[in-house]
């Protein structure tokens, strides 16, 4: 099925098998320039897929806002824990 053995370093994340994920993550570039490169790549891919098009839709920014809502909820969970209705779940 594999046409030619691609080294693990060059495979994309969605093509990595589940068992190889930790070693794949260990092989990533964690230098500051590497991290900035990863952020830039992620931004560029999202931007070019959802925003930099002729007829974009609401999904482009709504996903960003939804992600912002989720992250802010996670960061405030310590406070929100006190509003829980039951003590034991």
């Amino acid at each position: 099925m594999a046409d030619r053995p691609v080294p693990l370093k060059d495979t994309r994340f969605l093509d990595v098998k589940l068992g190889q994920v930790p070693s794949w993550i260990a092989m990533r570039d964690f230098t500051p320039s590497g991290l900035m490169g990863a952020v830039r790549r992620g931004y560029d891919s999202y931007y070019n897929k959802y925003i930099n098009v002729r007829k974009g839709g609401i999904g482009g920014i709504s996903m960003v806002l939804f992600g912002y809502v989720v992250i802010s909820y996670i960061w405030n969970y310590e406070h929100l824990k006190h509003d829980r209705w039951r003590k034991y779940h």
Binding site: I51, G57, G59, W85, R86
Partner: protein
């Protein structure tokens, strides 16, 4: 459609364009088509972005789950996840939930009602921008084409330079001819003047000789008239005059 408004200030396209702007500008000393592939002219923007269902979940997720769970798979997953979060109170229901629900409801209402209009407006703005750029491009193309026409016309005109030189040569020949004839006329006049002078001199001398001779002859004749002859001629004249006066008085 808000993304279309974002497109109006698209920095990424400019960032992609900047490195190859220097290739577009003509440097005579720089070689062409070296270096990485240049994105000019830019490839056209894709027509539609990635599909998103319900405004939140990319379509790829539904396609990813379709082989295993069919059409309802992701919805069942979503429902199960929601109930799990609620029951374990990982998502806590408090005053913010109600506020969030109202806000989300209003937002959805606004998007559904005015989304198409805003999209059309943004599309119109983009169209105008593109039309202006296209107009500039077409204008410059037209200018260049007319310049090419002018150039071809000039090249055609150059072919007539033979006629031009012939005309100029004719002019020069005519000038030379005119000059030559003027000088010929001058020479003729000068020569005529000298000959006239000679003639005038000859005539003058002849007249003087004539006058001199006449004077000399008269003088001699007058000298030869002795006083005796003078008295006789005067008496004869007087008698002739008397006779004439008698005859005239008679006729009157």
């Amino acid at each position: 459609m808000l993304s279309r408004l974002g497109l109006r200030a698209a920095p990424a396209a400019l960032k992609g364009l900047a490195p190859c702007l220097s290739v577009g500008v003509l440097h005579a000393s720089r070689p062409f088509h070296t270096g990485p592939r240049c994105l000019a002219p830019l490839p056209p923007l894709p027509e539609k972005g990635g599909q998103v269902r319900h405004g939140l979940i990319p379509e790829e997720f539904f396609q990813f789950l379709y082989p295993k769970t069919g059409v309802t798979g992701p919805y069942v997953l979503g429902t199960g996840l929601l109930f799990y979060l609620l029951s374990k109170e990982i998502y806590v229901v408090n005053h913010e939930t109600i506020a969030g629900a109202c806000i989300v409801g209003i937002l959805i209402y606004i998007v559904k009602k005015y989304g198409a209009d805003v999209a059309a407006f943004a599309d119109k703005l983009n169209e105008e921008k593109v039309a202006r750029a296209l107009a500039v491009k077409n204008q410059s193309i037209n200018n260049l084409e007319s310049a090419i026409e002018q150039e071809k016309k000039e090249q055609w005109r150059v072919e007539g330079r033979g006629y031009l030189f012939d005309a100029k040569r004719n002019n020069v020949a005519m000038l030379l001819e005119t000059n030559y004839r003027e000088r010929l006329l001058t020479v003729y006049n000068e020569v005529k003047k000298r000959l006239d002078y000679q003639i005038a001199v000859q005539q003058l001398s002849r007249r003087r000789e004539q006058d001199h001779m006449i004077n000399w002859v008269e003088k001699n004749v007058v000298q030869s008239i002795t006083p005796q002859q003078e008295k006789e001629s005067i008496a004869k004249c007087i008698s002739d005059l008397k006779m004439l006066s008698k005859s005239t008085r008679a006729t009157v």
